[in-house]
């Protein structure tokens, strides 16, 4: 230790500080070059992401419509949202979807990752299979699953009848089951992706800890709870944050599978924004709903960050 410390000054060649003026010119030059690297991307990013986000807040306080006329209306849009039954339904449905989709996806993808973290033949094949739904287009997924779920002719209900369920659910035609069907498809699509994250996380779990626990006589379940899960905490945190944001903004799956129906049983917040904005051209009002979505995502992300920080101390 001491040797290294004594050695250090001789080995590290500290550059002589440049004269102040030259240094500031150098700084200036670096700044220019740095910006020149970032600028091509930043132009697009700033114009198409940052500017719209700022404009969004302004729009939510106006009655901006299709003709582009905008009058300041203060909080009127937000007051209207409070009394809007469809808005309330869409928020509740979004939360319902999230409450089902988040735990289910975590359980399934973690289970799959644990299975695939074994040294067995054919692991690569299973990993590919699990990942395949995630890269398939949403339209293909929707068409295929809609027919699989078909109450009369669909293979799923046929299978359910075969195993003795006389009255299988109507799935997408039933207000009670439509959201559950969407959750099933959503989980089916996403689990390969989260599985990859969990697999990567599992590889950071020290083998020695498992060995030590085994020597101490811990069973599989005890090792999972006391060794694997604590080591996976950072991964679990990422996955939860992502899953939450992605569940809150769920849109394309709903749009291609149910379009919000039957009735309003699968109407979600993003779709409410889309309807008000692009179908009814009430841009101001839709923006107020979009602000709600914005804050839902930000607040939950910040809360999860704080909670994670508290637990890691």
């Amino acid at each position: 230790m001491a040797i290294t410390a004594a050695d250090a000054p001789t080995r590290v060649v500290t550059p002589k500080p440049a004269p102040p003026r030259r240094r500031s010119r150098l700084k200036m030059r670096n700044t220019l070059i740095g910006w020149s690297f970032i600028l091509p991307n930043f132009l697009g990013f700033g114009l198409l992401t940052l500017v719209p986000i700022v404009v969004l807040f302004y729009m939510s306080f106006t009655n901006w419509n299709i003709f582009g006329t905008a009058n300041w209306v203060g909080l009127a849009n937000f007051q209207r949202l409070m009394g809007d039954g469809s808005f309330r339904v869409s928020v509740l449905n979004t939360l319902y979807y999230s409450a089902l989709h988040i735990p289910l996806t975590i359980a399934v993808s973690l289970g799959l990752a644990l299975l695939l973290n074994n040294k067995i033949r054919g692991v690569a094949f299973f990993r590919t299979a699990a990942f395949f739904p995630y890269i398939t287009s949403i339209v293909a997924i929707a068409v295929v699953w809609n027919l699989l779920f078909s109450p009369e002719f669909g293979p799923i209900n046929e299978f359910l009848r075969f195993i003795g369920i006389a009255n299988p659910p109507g799935w997408l035609t039933s207000p009670d089951w439509a959201m559950i069907a969407v959750v099933i498809v959503g989980t089916w699509r996403d689990m390969g992706y989260y599985m990859i994250l969990f697999l990567a996380g599992l590889q950071t779990v020290p083998r020695e800890l498992h060995e030590a626990a085994r020597v101490d006589g811990a069973g599989i379940w005890q090792r999972f709870v006391n060794v694997t899960l604590p080591c996976l905490r950072p991964t679990m945190f990422f996955v939860t944050v992502m899953l939450t944001i992605n569940s809150f903004k769920i849109f394309d799956l709903i749009l291609v599978m149910t379009e919000g129906g039957p009735g309003q049983s699968t109407l979600v917040l993003s779709q409410f924004i889309y309807r008000k904005g692009f179908m009814e051209n009430q841009f101001g009002y839709a923006s107020a709903a979009a602000v709600a979505l914005f804050f839902m995502c930000i607040v939950v992300t910040v809360l999860q960050f704080l909670w994670n920080k508290k637990r890691s101390i």
């Binding site: 070059i33 690297f37 697009g44 992401t49 027919l147 990567a200 083998r207 924004i273 914005f294």
Partner: protein, 319 residues
């Protein structure tokens, strides 16, 4: 902006929470990558054997659940129109109707859709990789005031869903007169924060000494980027290329909002319209179209699987 696609925005969210300590592309060689200690007694232990069989059984059930929809799609594409809904369900076609794959080209504009989609995917991927890796060099290697704040802004927007700002973005692009042109999708997708993040993560694993040596040799920063960083970051570039291409190919929401003119439709929009306009409900034909739309992605994925997985895992983990 590129939050249009599910995949990419997932990645971006990942980036948000993962933006601490950079690592290289995660090697996900799987458990097989590390043989670990294994004794011969483990192999012959009967309890272990049973466990292994149970494991395979569980995995097989999983795989069947995962792949059945695909099998059903492909098999249905080879049935006659009526047979798709045969009760009780028949898995294999009675007669293999390869004709569906001929008819789909004549009975729909699928050629136009594929051309549009391909054009978008190639241009978007090119721009994203170019501007992303260029900006990443600025963030990873240049030191200047405001750099870290700017990067924070980049990742901060990742927690903001595209759905929340799609309306002002649409109005903005309409004012530029680019809505209802393919340019809208290019602008929307090409400047994502994800590319910047992924490349920056990778650049930070390349030893600084390499650029230092090049600087002493008199290379400019731009030359260092082009001659040293780019060649060294080919795995990361491959990841980004594949992910962006697949995202653009599969994107549904962006084209739905911006591309009203049927001549501009992408394959996803086209097939969706095919579903709703199918008077004689020839689902077999539709399945042929869907299979055609999925196959290029499947091939790309199988060829570049390693880069896919490493790219995704990189985005997801800080260490």
């Amino acid at each position: 902006m590129s939050g249009t696609t599910q995949t990419q925005s997932d990645l971006q969210t990942l980036a948000l929470v993962a933006a601490e300590k950079p690592r290289g592309l995660r090697k996900l060689s799987g458990p097989s990558g590390d043989p670990g200690p294994k004794t011969s007694t483990e192999k012959t232990d009967p309890r272990r054997r049973i466990g292994r069989i149970a494991l395979y059984a569980a995995l097989t059930i999983f795989a069947i659940g995962l792949l059945t929809p695909f099998a059903w799609m492909v098999l249905s594409s080879l049935k006659s129109a009526n047979e798709v809904f045969a009760v009780p369900i028949r898995w294999l076609p009675e007669a293999w109707v390869w004709q569906n794959y001929v008819d789909i080209w004549a009975k729909s504009d699928i050629l136009t859709w594929i051309r549009n989609t391909l054009f978008l995917a190639v241009v978007v991927t090119f721009l994203q990789v170019l501007t992303g890796s260029f900006a990443a060099y600025g963030f990873a290697r240049m030191r200047f005031r405001g750099r870290d704040a700017l990067f924070l802004l980049y990742i901060g927007t990742i927690a903001v869903p595209w759905q929340s700002y799609m309306i002002p973005q649409f109005i903005l692009l309409s004012n530029f007169k680019v809505s209802n042109t393919l340019w809208a999708i290019i602008l929307l997708q090409a400047f994502g924060a994800f590319g910047v993040f992924l490349m920056k993560q990778f650049y930070e694993t390349i030893p600084e000494e390499l650029s230092e040596a090049a600087r002493l040799d008199g290379l400019s920063e731009y030359a260092i980027w082009r001659k040293i960083m780019l060649p060294l970051s080919i795995p990361a570039l491959a990841s980004l290329t594949l992910l962006t291409f697949v995202n653009t190919w599969n994107d549904y929401l962006g084209p739905l909002i911006y591309l009203r003119n049927p001549d501009l439709w992408t394959i996803q929009l086209g097939l969706k319209s095919f579903v709703s306009n199918l008077y004689d409900t020839n689902y077999a034909l539709l399945f042929a179209g869907l299979t055609i739309s999925v196959i290029p992605i499947a091939i790309i994925f199988l060829l570049g699987q390693k880069y896919f997985v490493e790219g995704l895992a990189t985005s997801g983990l800080k260490g």
